[in-house]
């Protein structure tokens, strides 16, 4: 019975949207910069899923190519981001995002 119901592309897209939302939420509620960063990765993955799904839906390989590039971007971003985080954390261990608020107003 269940097997007759095939998940359509929309299902995937909706799932991706949900994932994106969770990622968004995470950036806002987590204080550890590393975890915030992970949440951004969640968002990127949601996009990737969307691209792949759309590529299938449209029978267009370009959607998958984009995912490839996004992964490169994600990698580079991680390197840079972690570099910045490390350089901060080396000086101020256990600093949360909330602690970095000297600039304001």
């Amino acid at each position: 019975m269940l097997s007759t119901i095939a998940p359509t592309n929309t299902w995937y897209l909706v799932l991706a949207a949900v994932l994106f939302g969770i990622g968004t939420l995470g950036v806002m509620v987590r204080r550890n910069p590393l975890v915030m960063f992970m949440c951004i990765e969640l968002m990127l993955n949601a996009v990737n899923l969307t691209f792949v799904t759309l590529a299938t839906a449209m029978s267009d390989i370009n959607g998958q190519v984009v995912v490839f590039f996004v992964m490169v971007v994600a990698a580079a971003e991680v390197v840079v981001g972690l570099g910045i985080i490390v350089s901060i954390m080396r000086r101020r261990t256990a600093a949360t995002a909330d602690d970095l608020s000297a600039l304001k107003g």
Partner: protein, 636 residues
């Protein structure tokens, strides 16, 4: 001679300029002599012009001398032009004539004043302005003089400006006059917009040829009357004149008795065709205001103790008479009274000045008395002036006042009655003054210590410069009535002389009851005057009755103080309110916007917490709103 008419104002102007430039060098008394000579020269020219006019036929007694084009814009063409005709020359004659005398008098009166040259500078400027006023060919030139005399009056009233009362009086005079000026300006606007010119000839021609709608004519007339009220101290604008007595006495004599204050009368006479073309009720308004002013001022004069204040209120009262005449259509009578009044009131003022001078600047009549003995000439001439103003025949005032009452009777008997009562009161308070100053006991001895500073305790007669004008004016006050005697048609010289000006609008009373019984009215007037004099003698000389001098009369029916209270109280509050409105509301709104922006900035700044997660929320919320818009655009 007629083309030399420009010399009439030119002499005083030259005197003014010379005194402005060299007055300090000339100093006393040369500057005074210079000013006097200039005025006298002007008088001589005026006499020449007068005889030139006299030598012409009635129709040719009209000459315009254009100096230059003053304000030519579009259809408005205003020339700086002088008009020589019977009216203006009559005015010029007594302005320069009496002016010369008062100048002469002032040389003595102002002796020792540190600002002696300045006084004569102003005096000459005044004469110049006054001459421009009367010689003006159009309303605007007259207005130039009109404002000029106002300014000079201001300078001269506040001549002793270190005295606060003098400064305040000067300001009051100027501002009150300005109220009148507003009326005169409005009249000019109306005249220009309806006739297209400001020249007297043009306006009067339009009025007499029925080119002027009655309603417009009424508007012009009423607005001119407002102007005249201001300048000629009529109700409700009279209140500056009593205060103007703060000025030196020659000023009071020249400006606030003989000349400037009569310019309202002159103006209305000049524009008599317009008045004639106006609705009849406008005449009634003028006459009523005049009568009311006359009576009002007379009642106040009864209770004054300041020698000059009595004369000031008397002047207001007499001016009221002139307006009563104008309102009754008796222009000749108005001018007639104006001239005689100039004689005797100048005389009285100069006399009072002489008394003040002799009394070392004491003006309170209660501290005088029996001065006749120490100041014989002053006393004698003053008494002549008194007789003239009280309406005792055959002195000048009698004839002119009688003529006014005659027309008033013919016009409106109630107003006539008011005039008669006023005449009675005039005789009464003038007699009171003469008795208080020149008769009775010498009360000045009691107060001698007050004048200790002057060294000389006894009053003294004034020097010849001051006495000579008194004598001359006394002569004029005696014979002045001769210019218009009611006996026959041919004895009415003034009427014939002024005919080109007023023939169109002068009220014709021939054949009325008043005209037929004018001798009866004349006798009645004599009786009234005698009654006033008698009553006064009874009260003040014989002490047969108690003087009726209620405080409310001394206070001028509290009119002035009410206005002052209003101005200082609610008026000032209103002004303060507007000023506060400006600061708090109008500027407050501007400053408020600034403050609001600043406050908003402070609030928005709080959103800039420095917390990266807050920023994410703000961005996220912005994103949601934006996406919602697009979703709606897509779905709906």
């Amino acid at each position: 001679m007629l083309n030399l008419v420009w010399l009439i104002p030119a002499f005083p102007l030259a005197g003014f300029l010379l005194n402005t430039l060299f007055g300090r060098k000339l100093s006393e008394p040369k500057s005074g002599v210079l000013a006097t000579l200039m005025t006298a020269a002007s008088f001589v020219v005026t006499v020449g012009v007068y005889f030139d006019l006299l030598s012409r036929t009635t129709e040719e007694r009209h000459s315009v001398f254009t100096l230059f084009s003053w304000l030519p814009v579009g259809s408005l063409k205003v020339d700086m032009a002088l008009l020589a005709d019977p009216l203006s020359i009559t005015m010029a004659l007594f302005i320069t004539g009496i002016g010369s005398l008062i100048h002469l008098y002032a040389i003595g009166y102002m002796h020792g004043d540190p600002k002696f040259p300045k006084f004569f500078m102003y005096l000459n400027l005044f004469v110049f302005s006054m001459l421009m006023l009367v010689l003006g060919e159009n309303l605007l030139v007259t207005f130039l003089g009109w404002e000029g005399v106002g300014a000079c009056s201001y300078f001269l009233i506040s001549f002793w400006h270190t005295r606060d009362s003098a400064a305040t009086a000067g300001k009051k005079a100027f501002v009150t006059n300005r109220v009148g000026d507003w009326g005169m300006m409005t009249a000019m606007f109306l005249a220009f917009s309806s006739v297209g010119t400001l020249s007297y000839a043009g306006i009067n021609a339009a009025a007499s040829s029925n080119h002027l709608a009655a309603v417009t004519a009424t508007g012009i007339a009423m607005m001119l009357f407002v102007g005249a009220c201001g300048k000629s101290a009529q109700l409700p604008l009279y209140l500056w004149l009593p205060d103007a007595m703060e000025g030196p006495t020659p000023v009071s004599a020249l400006i606030h008795a003989a000349t400037m204050v009569t310019s309202g009368v002159f103006l209305l006479t000049r524009m008599s065709p317009v008045l004639h073309a106006a609705y009849p009720w406008s005449g009634t308004v003028i006459a009523s205001v005049g009568a009311a002013t006359a009576l009002f001022a007379a009642t106040v004069a009864v209770a004054q103790t300041d020698i000059k204040k009595v004369l000031a209120y008397s002047t207001v009262s007499q001016l009221g008479f002139m307006f009563l005449a104008i309102g009754s259509g008796a222009y000749v009578a108005a001018i007639f009274h104006m001239i005689t009044h100039a004689f005797f009131k100048a005389l009285l003022f100069l006399g009072s000045g002489s008394v003040i001078h002799g009394m070392h600047h004491e003006q309170d009549m209660r501290k005088m008395g029996a001065l006749r003995k120490v100041m014989p000439i002053t006393g004698f001439t003053f008494i002549i002036g008194w007789l003239a103003i009280a309406g005792v025949p055959p002195f000048a005032g009698f004839w002119s006042k009688d003529e006014i009452l005659l027309f008033a009777f013919a016009n409106n008997r109630f107003l006539w009655l008011v005039g008669v009562v006023t005449a009675l009161l005039t005789a009464y308070y003038m007699t009171r003054q003469v008795i208080m100053v020149f008769y009775g006991e010498a009360r000045w001895n009691d107060h001698a210590e007050d004048h200790g500073a002057h060294g000389d305790h006894t009053p003294h007669e004034s020097p010849w410069m001051m006495v000579t004008p008194l004598v001359v004016l006394a002569g004029l006050a005696i014979v002045g009535g001769a210019m218009q005697l009611p006996f026959t048609h041919s004895t009415k010289f003034l009427e014939h002389w002024l005919e080109p000006i007023v023939h169109h609008s002068e009220r014709d009373i021939a054949g009325t009851w008043a005209d037929n019984n004018k001798w009866l009215l004349l006798v009645f007037a004599v009786v009234i005057a005698s009654a006033g004099i008698a009553a006064s003698i009874a009260v003040y000389a014989k002490g047969k009755a108690r003087a009726i001098e209620p405080q409310i009369l001394a206070d001028g029916w509290r009119y002035d103080s009410t206005i002052s209270t209003f101005m200082g109280g609610p008026g000032r509050k209103a002004f303060d309110g507007i000023s506060a409105f400006d600061a708090k509301i109008v500027d407050g709104a501007v400053v408020g916007v600034g403050h609001e922006v600043r406050a908003l900035s402070g609030i928005l700044r709080k959103a800039q917490t420095g917390l990266v997660r807050s920023y994410a929320v703000i961005i996220g919320l912005g994103a949601v709103v934006m996406l919602a818009w697009f979703l709606l655009r897509g779905v709906l």
